[in-house]
């Protein structure tokens, strides 16, 4: 079978990739410069002090953005295929963070950083291999058990069900782990840094960014090059027509939930490494931000979700570095409102925007 190009795909994917990379690099550098100026102007730093801080914060923003992007992918893919806001997705991420914490703490038995590089790699890979399938299958199971029977029900029913599932997952975690922060072992040494121009750039942040990018590129390749990926795109575009062409819609939808869960689990693992704690209500806030990211990028669009995730990460990080971290939720909400007001299709979206 010859490859079918989706109508949205550019004729030359390589040049498109290069163009987007250039735009991304320019955006990151621009963010760093703006932050430099703001730190100097509002934060009361000297010009020389502000630069290293801006550089460090930019790398941190990339890692936060990568986490939001990984979560946002799950929202956007599920929305793209069955038009459901899966409110439980944030809590899937939270369970991923818990599971990774349990795995790592169970093996290392303490909260110390692991400085032995091969051992660290084995541990991190082990945590990924352990959490990803479990969380992915949990997500598939939820779809199979509660969303699938409601696929033909009026719109409100699956939406309310998703809220219910979200609350169930949250309260399961609350019951098991209690309401406070649970310490998550930060096995990746936080003091590993690269000195650049007076700044100490965190290697953990770079690691999180690279891991997320690898996962996203793998996803992109899967969706655009494989048979199953093509089935996913076809189902998202027109479920009935693709069913007539022999695509098994149920299987494709299950696959979408599996991938969403797997990515959320990876996000959960790196969250624990980065922030050193997990809590039952983690998924609520992060989920809301990730969903905003998905809407910002254009819901249903995979590249859009990644872009949106990074934008939200940058905004949150910018607010935090200027000392306004408690306003970050407010800022994200304002962004959501503005996007819905002026460009409801988001940056790259073309699927939505229909009324009713």
């Amino acid at each position: 079978m010859t490859a079918i190009a989706s109508p949205a795909a550019q004729p030359n994917p390589l040049s498109r990739g290069i163009r987007m990379t250039v735009i991304a690099v320019v955006a990151v550098v621009a963010y760093m410069l703006i932050l430099w100026v703001l730190l100097f102007g509002l934060g009361g730093r000297t010009v020389a002090n502000a630069f290293p801080e801006a550089l460090q914060q930019t790398v941190n923003a990339l890692s936060i953005g990568a986490i939001y992007a990984l979560i946002a992918l799950g929202y956007t893919m599920v929305y793209g295929i069955i038009e459901l806001i899966n409110f439980a997705h944030g809590d899937i991420f939270m369970l991923g963070a818990f599971l990774a914490t349990v795995f790592i703490a169970g093996i290392t038995g303490n909260n110390d950083a692991v400085t032995n590089i091969p051992l660290l790699i084995v541990l991190l890979l082990g945590a990924l291999v352990f959490t990803m399938p479990i969380i992915g299958l949990l997500n598939v199971g939820i779809e199979r058990a509660v969303y699938r029977p409601l696929r033909h029900a009026p719109r409100l029913a699956p939406l309310i069900t998703a809220v219910g599932v979200s609350f169930i997952l949250q309260n399961v975690a609350l019951t098991i782990a209690g309401s406070g922060d649970r310490k998550s072992p930060q096995i990746f040494p936080l003091d590993w840094t690269i000195p650049i121009g007076g700044a100490q750039v965190s290697i953990l942040s770079i690691f999180i960014f690279v891991l997320a990018m690898l996962l996203m590129l793998a996803l992109q390749a899967f969706v655009s090059r494989t048979r199953l990926g093509r089935a996913m795109r076809a189902t998202a575009q027109d479920q009935e027509a693709s069913a007539l062409m022999g695509v098994d819609a149920n299987q494709t939808i299950s696959l979408t939930f599996l991938i969403g869960g797997v990515l959320a689990a990876a996000a959960g693992l790196v969250w624990g490494l980065r922030f050193g704690f997990v809590r039952f209500d983690l998924g609520f806030n992060s989920g809301l931000k990730a969903f905003t990211a998905a809407v910002l990028g254009g819901i249903g669009n995979i590249t859009g979700a990644v872009i949106g995730g990074f934008i939200i990460g940058f905004i949150e990080n910018g607010a935090a570095s200027l000392g306004y971290s408690r306003w970050s939720e407010f800022l994200v909400f304002v962004i959501l409102t503005l996007v819905l007001l002026f460009k409801p299709t988001g940056i790259l979206g073309q699927l939505t925007g229909d009324r009713a």
Binding site: A157, I160, T292, L336, D354, R355
Partner: protein
Amino acid sequence: MTAMTSARPTTGPSSPRARLQAFAHLHRSATIIASMVLITVAMILLPQVPPLSFIQRSDAWYDTFANAGVFILLAMGLNVVVGLAGLLDLGYAAFFAIGSYTYAYSNSPFSHQNLPFLPMLAVGAAVAAVFGIALGAPTLRLRGDYLAIMTLGFGEIVPIMFLNLDKWTEGTNGIGGIFRPEPLPLLGEFTPLSPFAYYILSVMIVTLAMILLYRMQDSRIGRAWNAIREDELAAAANGINTVTTKLLAFAIGATTAGFAGVFNASKLTIVSPEQFLFAVSFSVLAMVILGGMGNIWGVAAGAFVVYLIQIVLLKQLNGIVENLNVPFLTKVNFLDYQYLLFGIALVLMMLFRPEGLFPSQRRRRELHIADELEGPIDEPGVIGSMGETPGADETFNEAAGEDVPGHDR
């Protein structure tokens, strides 16, 4: 309304039940008042006798009932949004918070104000309505899902705003020492020790809200809500302005929450951000779903039952288990599991009885569209995206066509 009542000749006059229903339908407001009076009297008497008198003192029961009235109001208001207009509002507690804080600003040592209660009831509701319109106007032009996420975000940031703007809201501590309502004729004084006046006031507010909401549901607006919920495109094609109609539903929901907020603040005498977290929005949603979306009495009953489960039953269960001395269960605090139970109940209801425990007929038919389609759901041949199954609309319209329009129960 006249068209509706004249168009119900088919139910035979022979059955007294049908005749009673017809009478109730014709004299809706009188029926509501009469029923509420009966219920109120029953609820004054019941706490005096066992088994209720064993659980707590009758004053404590009146206090519980008065608080339940707040949740009944909230549930009836959310029912307009979710049950009648078919929109999902996940940040309903935000409007409750706005009503509460409005009263706190008008009647507390913090603001050095002491304004009369009854006008403030209207002001609180109006302020909440303004916020509802401000939130709904940009969102309701888009598809319904966006409203859910916008309200979820709004519900999250309103408590955060009250927390962060501590110069104006006292932050986490909240605004305390709120003045109770001034003595009202017939009700007497509002004191912490005699909740009876609060109970009667709460019944009066609930009754008033119920009458207004029923009249609205049976009016042209109510029929427009039904039409939009069932098929927005068809409603728009028939000349309904879907945006303003949905906005009205959203604003009425917010108004009702504002009412509830003012009453709640005047009764608790303190407002603080943690009273208005997502759990409140979720509880109210669970009340509406359990009670039966679209059925005002059902939703009110659902709210009452759920509130009693939350406040009385789970506490009692703890006591009972402790007395029984079952080794494993004594450590279990049932209150901790209430939201887990609500979550499970919500999902199970959606799967097996989406019309709720006290359904509205129209809603029941609508929510069982999937069952009416030929073939099992899993069959790969019957595929359509959620809620847009081709053929589903025709099936439903045929079913509805056989019935008298506007004949809800």
